[in-house]
């Protein structure tokens, strides 16, 4: 346990020494927020799109989900795959730091940076675009933690499966764009063509965004969405543990 704490702290420090990653994680959602609100921000609540709520109230929780997903599919797997590629996982294992400890540390780091990035994003939404704050804080924070941990686990599984940091980067960027465009952080779901809407239903980000929105708006946890996110968490943890045990 002390090793997990020590490694987590160390990994956080290492991340802070990569200014590009930090800037990317903090700035990207702000840029998307700025662009999409420039396009849709002034639209009044319209029953045909954004589930009948105003654009900014639809997007803010969706962006929070996107931030957690971005950290999960980009930051975590690139680091873990790179660690294996360079023999760092072997090095740690031989010194009584098993991959489980490494994955735990990276997951905690992922949740922490998702939280910081989300906080910045929410502040910008509220101050700059008069977004609503969550109506139900405990449900929202709970949903956020579940979503952030689940995407960190997905990232760990990808990091365990992919051979190199470069491969992880490639797949991560692809997933990021698919998540952003189809998962509820891009065009409103209602205007997506049927095929894309069907694909969106298969994406974990769609359910994560839905879960966060329902909690945010005070409707409690949306059951199916919560189950899908929790299911992804379990599968990803099993895959990651199995793959790292093989190493």
């Amino acid at each position: 346990m002390r090793t997990v704490a020590e490694l987590t702290w160390l990994e956080l420090k290492l991340l802070m020494r990569e200014p590009l990653t930090v800037v990317f994680v903090l700035l990207l959602p702000m840029v998307i927020l700025y662009v999409l609100n420039g396009v849709f921000g002034s639209s009044p609540a319209d029953p045909s799109v954004w589930e009948g709520i105003g654009a900014i109230d639809f997007y803010t929780p969706s962006y929070v989900a996107l931030v957690a997903a971005t950290v999960g599919v980009l930051t975590v797997p690139v680091h873990l795959a790179g660690y294996r590629e360079h023999g760092i996982i072997r090095r740690l294992r031989a010194s009584a730091i098993p991959p489980t400890v490494l994955v735990a540390a990276h997951s905690v780091v992922a949740v922490v940076i998702s939280a910081v990035s989300s906080a910045v994003l929410i502040m910008a939404s509220v101050l700059g675009y008069e977004a609503r704050l969550p109506s139900d804080w405990p449900a929202t924070v709970g949903a956020f933690v579940l979503v952030a941990v689940a995407f960190a686990a997905l990232g760990s599984a990808l990091g365990a499966l992919l051979p190199t940091a470069r491969a992880a980067q490639g797949l991560g960027v692809l997933l990021f764009f698919v998540f952003m465009l189809l998962g509820g952080a891009g065009p409103p779901m209602e205007v997506l063509p049927d095929a894309m809407a069907d694909i969106a239903e298969f994406l974990p980000i769609t359910h994560a965004a839905r879960l966060l929105r329902s909690a945010w708006l005070g409707e409690g946890w949306e059951g199916t969405a919560a189950l899908v996110v929790a299911g992804m968490l379990v599968v990803a943890v099993v895959v990651a543990l199995w793959r790292f045990a093989e190493d």
């Binding site: 002390r2 090793t3 020590e6 490694l7 160390l10 420090k13 290492l14 020494r17 990569e18 660690y83 360079h86 023999g87 760092i88 072997r90 090095r91 740690l92 294992r93 031989a94 010194s95 009584a96 730091i97 400890v101």
Partner: protein, 309 residues
């Protein structure tokens, strides 16, 4: 403070086997390492050296055989073995941005030896580099850090796998000094290498591996004697040299081109041949002896084509 090697057995490997799918990495490996010595595992790439030491450290599960590391079984008691073994792994690294002191501190925590790392910084000449990131260290400095990391928690055995691959000659020599310094503090060392000069310089005893089997083991003189190595004496001389065939230990006398002569045999050949020639009133020119070396034993047993690199 030099602790002499003892007869006490530190590591015993008996009948070790390990396959990866269809590929046999270790077919049958047995050896014993005595406490306080530098024991070498020498062999070409792919001969099963690394797999063997990974099994010893409990990093891999063998398919067969018995292992004992200071009385502990690396399969049944992996955690226990990790506390008595420190290691430097082949082709391993640390995150580039991790600083020297951070790595030492992390490994001290994981090995339940918090606080011991400050001393290692000084001991291994890393005090000035404590705030340097791993990625900014030179090859030699990285090796020093790896040795220090391997010694965190004061392990009784240290496994050093291919320490000098990729280092320049001066860094290699400094690394050799490090290995001797580890032994001299009383720690038993298993050194994995495919360099003969390294094995010859450092190892108290060694096992020669090829294709997953031990083909010879012992001290270097034992290996050379066991391989039936021949001494060659070469010189140039005017006149008939057939009489040399009558000298003790001489097995062959080959007159070569010009006045060159090669005498092959065993025992103190140079002294006997030189004595006989001078006694005959002849003056040998360019008199040289070629003693069998570890390299001859190695090439004899492994074959010239054994090393793919």
């Amino acid at each position: 403070m030099t602790v002499p090697p003892s007869d006490e057995i530190a590591v015993r490997v008996y009948g070790l086997q390990k396959r990866y799918g269809d590929k046999v990495a270790v077919a049958d490996v047995s050896f014993e390492v005595r406490r306080g010595e530098i024991f070498g595992l020498l062999g070409p790439n792919g001969s099963g050296k690394t797999t063997t030491v990974e099994c010893v450290q409990g990093l891999r599960r063998p398919d067969g055989g018995d292992l004992s590391v200071f009385g502990l079984d690396p399969i049944a008691d992996t955690a226990g073995v990790r506390t008595v073994v420190g290691s430097q792994l082949q082709q391993s690294a640390l995150p580039d941005r991790m600083k020297v002191w951070e790595a030492l501190r992390l490994f001290s925590t994981s090995r339940n030896a918090a606080g011991s790392w400050e001393k290692l910084l000084g001991e291994w000449g890393l005090a000035e580099k404590r705030n340097t990131a791993f990625g900014d260290l030179s090859g030699g400095q990285k090796q020093r850090l790896f040795v220090a990391l391997a010694l965190v928690g004061d392990p009784r055995l240290v496994v050093l796998d291919e320490m000098t691959t990729g280092l320049d000659p001066s860094a290699r020599r400094l690394t050799w000094d490090l290995v001797e310094a580890v032994r001299d503090r009383g720690t038993t060392v298993i050194l994995v290498t495919h360099f003969m000069d390294e094995a010859e310089r450092l190892c108290d005893r060694l096992a020669l591996l090829t294709s997953g089997r031990v083909v010879a083991q012992g001290t270097i003189p034992e290996l050379i004697a066991g391989a039936g190595g021949r001494t060659e004496v070469r010189f140039t001389a005017e006149g008939e040299v057939g009489f040399l065939r009558g000298i003790d230990g001489v097995e062959a006398v080959d007159p070569g081109p010009g006045n060159a002569v090669t005498v092959v045999g065993t025992g103190p050949l140079l002294a006997r041949v030189a004595h006989a020639i001078v006694e005959r009133g002849m003056v040998p020119g360019d008199l040289r002896a070629h003693l069998p070396s570890l390299e001859d034993v190695y090439l004899d047993m492994v074959g010239d084509s054994g090393d793919g690199s």
